[in-house]
């Protein structure tokens, strides 16, 4: 509480994360901790088949277990919700499997009991009779496979560019995005050099340390959901739609999240607990185990073919990209990833002739969705590996090749949208300086060889999306900030408080940030795609300005000096005592022009561009193929940084996550079954895997449309890590790996093959 009006600038300083103490002392509340009176625990029985018609689900043995309150299947859900399908792009995902299962691990039945152990024991007794169907797992095969995952396509209707797919049969293509600029075909005919390479990425997992969890509490008039969600507003709208209720009868509350990374967006367990709670008229909690995360949402595996025409001087004149995204059994946000990442598939280069085809595909694997980069890390893996392969073939330095082709400020990008406030050149030059690229490099000796590599990527923000914020000033001058941005570990509470405080002229520490509660906090599209700092930041700034303007107007009305009168004095003069509120409101939705379906062209595809670059120094053990990253340098354009310390940790956190995706993380499938669904068998980087030297830098920059010049940064650190490492490996030992993950064995096999002594399988 304060009436201090001049605490100094709030944006650009690094107050500690406001939740840090509560989290470190174990006092921060999470949904996993929540217990409600009379609450039942739900445990799922899951499909054992990747693709099959369900003949019968046998729940008798489960029902016979003492303490089991109810067992629900898709048919029970259909009694309550006649069309129990959800999804942000397609209404394709049933709450519990109906008629058929489309991946091994798909939820089949829910057992409810007061004791979770009883529910778990009973869930293991549920069996189904199946009629097996042919299955498809590979994204390229899915284009032509006779195995069809969904009999008919059901676009949700929210995205105009999916409407042409409504009712389409006998296809696994959930979206095709095409972009044509210039005449690529003709440019290839006249090209000096043509390079074509194909790259692969693997399925990996978000793996937040807090697994998915939701609780539904059916009240007299309202259904309340307590859920670990990145998108409370979307959940409210989607649950209301499923139930045929008005939005205000569904209330969604979200405390802190133990990580999200794109997994906890849209509807995950919320429809299931909502339906179950309404059927049994008791609160229902479903908390997944770590293992069950492997059956909920993954990151798209992709196959990427990229072809470039390059002239004698090393300028890229044409580029053709074909990308196949393995979306798994349900589309989730995959079609959006296919389209939005398609915008930037040719990379941050100034290329006259461009042709892009990007396909979202259904397969019989667990669904894939957004994961810290929205498809961009997959694309950068391809185009930045490709860049070094071209540069090497033409004996051009990789940095010089990039400088020669870089997309400069004011130039039109492949979609036709002009580059504005995208510090690609500054980021590349600062990376080169930090890497001391023009200085000699120690190459190692014996069985330890050293190399270095760089990569740079960029991203168009998901658009158009809406954020609304409310700032409420109390009579003593203290403030509440109401917004539905979810602080899932990225520090948004702290940053939003700084933005509001900057406007109001108070200290950020004196603002209380109210966590998402759809009865209280206003609409926000979701916390995803690094959109919050820019979109919600703008809404918060406007709400704070509105509150400030109202305070000033009130002061003027009372004959007080608006700028200098302490806030409590204004309220005392108005209400005669410490009483009242001043409430400011702000909303933000950027401009957007949809791309033309045939050409993919638009003059306004994004409100802002994100830029991320990484340089690495590595050591390769030539006897084992083991790669050790000894130095990791991450550069980004985050506009003006709201909280430099948080930006720094966002960059290193993202880069370390991508380091795991690059070197060893991989969900392994055998005939559609996950073979390593545990933290013992799916490894993520630990402290001992961190490079000894990690440097992060947000370059000096300003985003014209951002709050105080700021923009998002949560994903930028992931963009270029993978190709930088692959490029450094070639620099060190002369072999090229084109599929992720780059395991020690993959490098060793490449080394053996390059010596003409390939290792047997």
């Amino acid at each position: 509480m304060t009436s201090e009006r001049t605490p100094g600038p709030q944006v650009g300083r690094s107050p500690p994360r406001r939740e840090a103490r509560a989290k470190l002392s174990g006092r921060a509340p999470y949904v996993h901790d929540l217990v409600l009176p009379g609450m039942l625990h739900g445990k799922l029985a899951r499909s054992t088949r990747p693709h099959a018609r369900i003949r019968r689900i046998d729940t008798a043995a489960a029902r016979a277990i003492e303490g089991v309150h109810a067992v629900l299947t898709g048919d029970d859900i259909r009694q309550l919700i006649p069309q129990p399908y959800h999804g942000p792009a397609f209404h394709d995902q049933p709450i519990l499997a109906l008629d058929k299962v489309r991946y091994a691990g798909e939820p089949l039945a829910l057992v409810l009991a007061s004791d979770p152990h009883v529910a778990q024991t009973a869930a293991r007794l549920i069996e189904a009779e199946y009629e097996e169907l042919p299955a498809v797992y590979d994204e390229v095969e899915a284009m032509r496979s006779s195995a069809i995952v969904h009999d008919v396509l059901k676009p949700a209707g929210t995205f105009p560019d999916l409407k042409h797919l409504a009712g389409k049969r006998d296809t696994n293509v959930a979206l095709d995005f095409h972009l044509r600029r210039g005449n690529a075909a003709r440019a290839f005919e006249h090209a000096e050099h043509v390079f074509e390479h194909t790259f692969k990425t693997q399925q990996v997992l978000h793996l937040p340390l807090e697994p998915f969890v939701s609780v539904a509490d059916p009240g007299e008039r309202q259904l309340t959901l307590h859920t670990a969600s990145q998108s409370p507003s979307f959940v409210r709208i989607e649950i209301a739609r499923l139930l045929g209720w008005p939005e205000n009868r569904v209330r969604v509350q979200v405390p802190f999240l133990g990580g999200g990374f794109g997994a906890k967006v849209y509807v995950k367990l919320e429809a299931l607990v909502a339906a179950a709670a309404l059927i049994v008229r008791r609160p229902v909690k479903v908390a997944l185990t770590m293992e069950e995360q492997f059956y909920t949402l993954t990151k798209h595996a992709a196959t990427l073919r990229i072809k470039s025409a390059v002239d004698a001087e090393g300028r890229i004149s044409a580029r053709e990209c074909e990308v196949w995204w393995n979306g798994g059994a349900y589309a989730d946000i995959g079609p959006r990833i296919t389209q939005k990442s398609g915008f930037t598939a040719p990379g941050p280069y100034d290329i006259e002739h461009v042709s892009i085809d990007s396909y979202a595909l259904y397969t019989n694997l667990p669904p894939a969705g957004a994961l810290r980069g929205f498809g961009i890390p997959q694309l950068v893996w391809a185009y930045e590996s490709h860049a070094d392969m071209i540069a090497r073939a033409l004996s051009i330095d990789p940095l010089a090749f990039r400088r020669k082709n870089l997309l400069r400020e004011g130039r039109a990008q492949a979609t036709g949208t002009l580059m504005r406030d995208a510090a690609l050149d500054t980021v590349l030059e600062r990376l080169a300086q930090r890497m001391r690229w023009d200085e000699p490099f120690e190459r190692g000796s014996g069985s330890v060889r050293r190399g270095r590599g760089i990569g740079i990527g960029f991203k168009a923000s998901i658009s158009p999306t809406t954020s609304v914020a409310i700032v409420s000033v109390s009579a003593d001058g203290s403030c509440h900030l109401l917004c539905s941005t979810v602080d899932m570990g990225q520090g948004s509470d702290t940053a939003m408080a700084q933005i509001a405080a900057e406007v109001l002229g108070i200290a950020a520490e004196d603002i209380t940030v109210v966590h998402p509660d759809t009865d209280v906090t206003p609409f926000d599209m979701a916390t995803l795609g690094s959109r919050s700092t820019y979109h919600m930041g703008n809404a918060v700034k406007r709400a704070a300005e509105d509150a400030r303007d109202r305070l000033f107007a009130l002061a003027a009305e009372l004959g007080l000096a608006p700028e200098t009168t302490p806030i409590p004095e204004i309220f005392r003069r108005k209400y005669g005592m410490q009483a009242g509120n001043v409430v400011g409101q702000g909303s933000f939705v950027p401009s957007y022009i949809p791309t033309d379906h045939a050409s993919g062209q638009s003059s306004d595809v994004t409100p802002f561009w994100m830029v991320g670059a990484t340089g690495v120094e590595i050591e390769v053990d030539t006897e084992t193929g083991q790669v050790k990253v000894t130095r990791l340098v991450n550069l980004a354009d985050a506009g003006r940084t709201v909280n430099p310390a948080i930006v720094d940790t966002q960059l290193s956190g993202a880069a370390i996550m991508q380091l795991g995706f690059t070197l060893f993380e991989q969900i392994e499938f055998r005939s559609g079954q996950v073979a390593n669904a545990s933290l013992a068998d799916y490894k993520i980087p630990g402290m001992h895997d961190l490079p000894p030297l990690i440097e992060n830098e947000a370059v000096t920059a300003h985003e014209h449309g951002g709050p105080f010049g700021a923009k998002g940064v949560g994903e930028s650190g992931t963009f270029a890590v993978s190709p930088a490492i692959a490029n450094a490996i070639e620099d060190a030992v002369g072999v090229r790996v084109t599929a992720l993950p780059i395991t020690a064995e993959a490098v060793y096999r490449a080394l053996r093959a390059s010596r003409g002594e390939p290792l047997a399988q």
């Binding site: 293992e291 083991q626 070197l663 068998d681 490894k683 630990g686 001992h688 895997d689 290792l759 047997a760």
Partner: protein, 292 residues
């Protein structure tokens, strides 16, 4: 996890009486670090756990005599790691423990539990086998000794009867013995090893008098690589002889394929890391090594 009965007897005799070889639901429990994971995963559903943590404190002692170091089965891995005796006389054991799991696990996991678990990915069984350790096994009114190879009979399998408990591990002292263990991980640093290689070399002047080379993790139980051992016998250990022994090891080993690597790749890793471990063991200089 399904609820279960937990009993904490105060004596070893009482613990032995509480075990029931006829009932697979009754299990002894040490530090519970592996047991709890198996129970959470539903792989093991015991009805009764007989915890050994409150039995007589002497089963945690680390005792040195003229010819051996004897470690009580209830000793925590951390207490072994920090024991001055172990550090001085078996530095390779102390070094190995520093990268075994993590400090939270080492603080509660016990030596006896580690061996009885018989997970092939464990670091200690191959190392203790290389050190020629013997395991003291107590039954109701009976006591026997077993080598590590006799104790661990397969993948998560031991020769322990349902009413037998490991009470101590005896590691014989040897003159001029150098020892080293290498945990080889191929994914994250804290992954289960793709292979574990333990080497103990007894010197006679500049030559190898006796060698023990034991492979773990890549095979279903700690396995001595006898051809490699034979190749080392009587040699002067240098890059060439180490390479020859490592080639013999790679030829005789039968590694299995898993997520950590193909069999062919693991064979190459064995070739590289047996050589490196041999050279490391040759330079290992225990403090206060006894002269026989």
């Amino acid at each position: 996890m399904t609820p279960f009965e937990l009993i904490e007897p105060r004596t070893l005799d009482e613990a032995l009486r509480l075990l029931d070889p006829a009932d697979p639901g009754v299990r002894p429990a040490g530090g519970c670090t592996a047991l709890m994971l198996m129970m959470k995963a539903g792989m093991l559903v015991p009805t009764r756990l007989v915890s050994l943590r409150r039995i007589e404190p002497r089963y945690r002692d680390i005792v040195a005599s003229d010819d051996a170091i004897t470690i009580g089965a209830n000793a925590s891995l951390a207490s072994i790691e920090h024991s001055a005796r172990v550090r001085d006389e078996l530095p390779a054991l102390a070094r190995t423990l520093r990268t075994l799991a993590n400090v939270r696990v080492r603080n509660v996991a016990t030596l006896g539990g580690n061996l009885a678990h018989a997970d092939p990915h464990m670091d200690l069984p191959p190392l203790l086998a290389a050190l020629d350790a013997s395991v003291q096994v107590q039954g109701r009114g009976s006591s026997r000794y077993a080598s590590i190879e006799q104790l661990i009979s397969g993948y998560y399998e031991t020769t322990l009867a349902g009413d037998e408990l490991i009470v101590a591990v005896r590691i014989p002292k040897r003159a001029a013995r150098g020892c080293a263990y290498r945990k080889v991980t191929t994914r994250s640093a804290d992954d289960w090893p793709a292979l574990g290689i333990a080497v103990a070399l007894e010197r006679e002047g500049e030559r190898v008098r006796a060698a023990r080379v034991v492979l773990g993790a890549a095979v279903d139980r700690p396995t001595r690589l006898l051809a490699a051992e034979a190749a080392l016998q009587g040699t002067r250990l240098d890059e060439t002889s180490a390479r020859r022994a490592a080639d013999a090891a790679a030829d005789e080993a039968r590694p299995s394929e898993d997520a950590r690597g193909s069999a062919a790749y693991k064979r190459e890793l064995i070739r590289v890391h047996v050589r490196r471990t041999l050279l490391e063991a040759w330079c290992d200089e225990p403090v206060g090594a006894v002269r026989q």
